[in-house]
């Protein structure tokens, strides 16, 4: 006989812990909301929301766990809900001394995965996310020159700033920094197991800022906070908004961005209404920061590959990046694993054969990086990405597709006497060259060839004034 323990968050913010036979905590929560238990704590504190549940093989185990949790502090309950095992351990220690993890606590850890009782991670469903919940993602990463070589070999990037220590040093930096997009993909990859393993679609990015420059040898950690939850009217999915932060080994923020994904729901019952956050359409110019030390007064335009400075670009100007890059299965898989992003859709052909596309999807970050590498041809001096205003993967990319790209100058900003910034729209297409700048039709619909619509700020040398 299976059973479960559950916690409800009441309308007044208090928590209710209960246990029940069966396997459906959502149905149990719905009964509470329907007023089925007039004597319960919850009756006058409705609506309640199911915030945590845990399966047990036996009813007596569930009852024992219910009693134990009822004795816990609010902080410890919240650590439990947030699956914050470090905090849970700390709180447990605080209470009773050294290392007193109980059998139940071990059972909880054992059962982190929820209803399947397996140790493998089935990913979070929409119901698993809480507004304000903070996730510390797994697998910190020391970025090395090996990663940089692979990034070059997988994208074809030719920006001198990331290619040569000498060039970077002439720009005031201690050595060649890591391409901000490589750091972005690595941070992003860490979030996948917690946020988007059950994602239906990666809907967009906003408010991305690249702060402390990342150098080989730096170690990046990632955390995400849930900043918005919005269920879809179909009852099957919801949109989860998170703000993810990549932090280096000194605790400095290397990058930060908001992202929203459509995630499957576990059940189809109505949930308490939740809303998405308000995100900025464009990163404010005042928030743009050139990486510490960057000066362009000794910039070598020959070595950079083009003579164009900040003043040479006009708002509204469009640039075809001309070259095309055909993607192979091995290439996007190697790149995506380099980022330790192991979402099944990119790797499991057997499973994807039966999907609506019938094949593996290329990770969107691969498209961004190829497009940015192609953009060298026309934007060679706009190497350093400062901010991401908005990003959208408009259509899926597959192996054997050829990626082309074009850019439009959307805005300009002057950061320092030698450093300017261009706001650029980077549009990538598949199997259609970009001489005609394909984007949207009169009705605002994207051209079917467009795969990426990416709006960002990049630093560029200012011309002598």
């Amino acid at each position: 006989m299976r059973a479960f323990v559950y916690i409800l968050r009441c309308a007044d913010g208090s928590y209710y812990t209960g246990s029940h036979r069966g396997e459906d905590p959502a149905a149990r929560a719905a009964q509470h909301n329907a007023g089925a238990y007039p004597e319960a704590w919850t009756f006058r504190r409705r609506p309640v929301e199911l915030v945590w549940a845990q399966d047990f093989d036996r009813v007596d185990e569930a009852i024992a766990a219910e009693r134990q949790i009822k004795g816990w502090s609010r902080a410890k309950k919240e650590a439990l809900m947030g699956r914050d095992w470090n905090e849970l351990k700390r709180l447990a220690k605080g209470r009773t001394g050294q290392g007193d993890a109980t059998a139940f606590e071990r059972a909880l850890r054992r059962d982190r995965a929820g209803r399947t009782m397996t140790k493998s991670n089935p990913g979070n469903f929409f119901e698993d996310f809480q507004l304000g919940q903070v996730m510390r993602h797994a697998t910190p990463r020391t970025i090395t020159t090996g990663d940089v070589s692979l990034y070059t070999a997988l994208t074809g990037s030719r920006y001198a700033l990331f290619s040569a220590d000498t060039f970077a040093q002439a720009c005031g930096l201690p050595q060649a920094p890591v391409d901000p997009l490589l750091a972005f993909h690595i941070v992003f990859g860490k979030t996948v197991p917690d946020i988007s393993l059950n994602a239906v679609a990666n809907l967009g990015y906003a408010e991305g800022l690249f702060l402390a420059a990342v150098y080989p040898g730096d170690t990046l950690h990632a955390t995400s906070e849930v900043i918005g939850l919005k269920e879809n009217s179909n009852g099957k999915t919801g949109v989860v908004h998170v703000r993810t932060t990549g932090t280096n080994q000194r605790g400095e923020t290397a990058l930060s961005y908001a992202r929203w994904v459509m995630v499957n729901r576990r059940g189809a019952d109505a949930l308490a209404p939740k809303k998405g956050p308000k995100l900025a359409v464009v990163v404010d110019k005042a928030d743009l920061r050139a990486p510490y030390g960057l000066v362009f007064d000794r910039y070598d335009f020959d070595l950079a590959g083009a003579p164009h400075v900040y003043e040479d670009y006009a708002v509204g100007e469009k640039i075809d990046h001309v070259d095309g890059m055909t993607v192979q299965e091995a290439e996007h898989q190697i790149a995506t694993r380099l980022y330790q992003n192991t979402a099944k859709v990119h790797f499991d052909f057997l499973q994807q054969k039966d999907s609506r596309f019938g094949k593996r999807l290329v990770y969107g970050g691969v498209a961004i990086s190829i497009a940015r590498a192609l953009a060298f041809n026309g934007l060679a001096n706009a190497a350093y990405m400062l901010a991401i205003n908005a990003g959208r993967h408009v259509n899926p990319l597959f192996a054997w597709d050829t990626v082309y790209a074009w850019s439009e100058v959307l805005d300009k900003a002057e950061l320092t006497p030698t450093v300017g910034a261009l706001r650029l729209r980077l549009v990538a297409t598949k199997n259609v060259p970009c001489a005609e700048h394909p984007w949207k039709d009169a009705a605002g619909e994207y051209d079917p060839a467009v795969i990426l619509d990416f709006d960002y700020w990049a630093a560029i040398p200012r011309g002598a004034s």
Copy 2:
């Protein structure tokens, strides 16, 4: 007129050196054994065994060489048989002073490859191996962070211990060590030209131990000793058992393992009976050593990606690792070349087209590493492999196959107050997910989907006691 010089090892351990016209030393040895030369040294010392032979273009060259070898010490003859050119050179110097390599010695080196008179390596055949023979393998390798990046990108490994210096430092290590499997594949790769270039099948591993941890910057050398020789009854092949040791630049043993391969014979004549060694079925728990410095008292379970500790695993427990990874030709070729393993079956499509499989075989080490990377999902804290008890490549893997994996806990051991060890069976399949844990049927036959049956020990944090 072709000729050859040959050495026979007699029943009393003495060596007989002779020369003869033609190209068939094995036939000549058979005549000795048949008693065709009653006056010869060999007649009363039968059975004899052919232990060395060398072709010459002209009879007079062969006779001159025969005379020269007859004057050599036993040690020098054995250096010649073992193709130990460094030792041969040393002995030559010892005898007559500096650098007296004779024309014949140069000819010998020239003709190392044996009967083809070419400088390229045709690989060793079963008859070329001697019990007790020690081979110093070519191409030492300084392992770098570049190798580590590629390993991540080719396998998708997410174990925090190998990914982040900070995480490894919190576990008492100076920096992130190299995944023991990467070191294993690199050591293994070096042995292929000497041991398995003419292998029919890689039959198994045993008694593998990972000792000194390997860090980027370390240089690994490999040596192998022949510990068993067993001819097959078909007369066409034999099984060669070796113990291979990987040593770092300080002379410390980084890893050691036994391996046996089926190797083609050059001829089909009967050989003196030889036997295989006795190898342990499981590495003894008392031989398990956590890498120097490893302590898990500050282990960060969030960053590691799962809360499960030593105590959470029960013997008999089975874990489906859920995810699948489809392999591409480019991926397995890149990985196998990274290990400097250049066995033809993995690379030469033209040749393999006419093989029984009709395509290139994926190196078995690629399957091991992918399966171990998949095992993160359920065994995230069992990162560090301590020992290999047994390993068998049950069925071949090809490009476009999708690899899945599951594990079973076979045994447990407590190494230090903070470090435990799990004995795990890692089973990998192709094109069949592992929710049902496919392995063997009632008759003990492997499920045809199984490609790997790998039995190893891995370190894991112990829970607070």
Copy 3:
């Protein structure tokens, strides 16, 4: 109304600057040569040559620019022609103080790409090259151990000298140097955007010399001088000869080679006759230099993988390297991007589908490196390439082709008491093993299987004398 400014170089070496309506500077130059303007400076200084032109959207802009250029020094005009923006900026500063780039100068930089008014690089056409012109190529590169790992993983190279720091140190070097071919490909890659983006064919190499050894951490820059220009009789193409030099961060020459490519012409008008340079057929033995510090007195033949020394090789000897390597699309693309060589023919399948081959071409350097890696089997001790005498890509290589190789010893030279050099012809084939050493037929025509004919010098240990 479009217009252009142009500069003609007169027969007496003087420059004439003019402007005109329309879009065809070549036609305008032809009118000058035809004597259409008897009053012009050019009339008595014919033949003239069009050395520079720049489009403008409006006639008044062109006239303003013409006036400005007419006031410039000869040095500044030449900086303009050479598109040497750093020099142009320096000269501008010298004239009027700090940072006085005019709107016109900015316009010039803006329009570097010439007639399309786009910022992307359409590549140089035959008419764009000037004899004696020096190009500083873009994207310097700090070579890292990550690049070395990828080179190993993409080629399967097993030469101990490049694989292990300990082995290299025993050979007198501070650490394992970078394979000279890796440095060559990286330098070569930088030249592509300036020299061969519009190339029809890469015709050959000569006079290649590897000088300062390259170590991980070194930064390579590349410059090329145009040393020959020869138009083809079809009027559609010409042959451009360049000498390219790769320089490290200390200003030392790491390598240098001559190369000639067939490049498309923009127009079909007759040009002033030009000639190709005379290049040495073979690098002079006296110019061969072993890398600084290299001594082979402690060379370990076991670790190197073969016993053969300098004295073991005879001129005329041919060696089949036996093994075959099948190339995949992902592999050659990753390798070619590693070298930051982004020539479209290697990457854009959509475009190549309609080419005469119907598929992507493998970069010739990939074939060289695979063949050299295969050559380990027979030439394991000839690791270090000292010079390139001649190189020719005889037939194109495509993905799924299997590469084989053989070598012939062409010559020998003794460099130091322990270092010898072999002059080797390396022949690579596709889909035909090399036991029969396929090369040329009686009429001197290459066997259709041959893809590469490469003549080089490599260092090898000398035997004890």
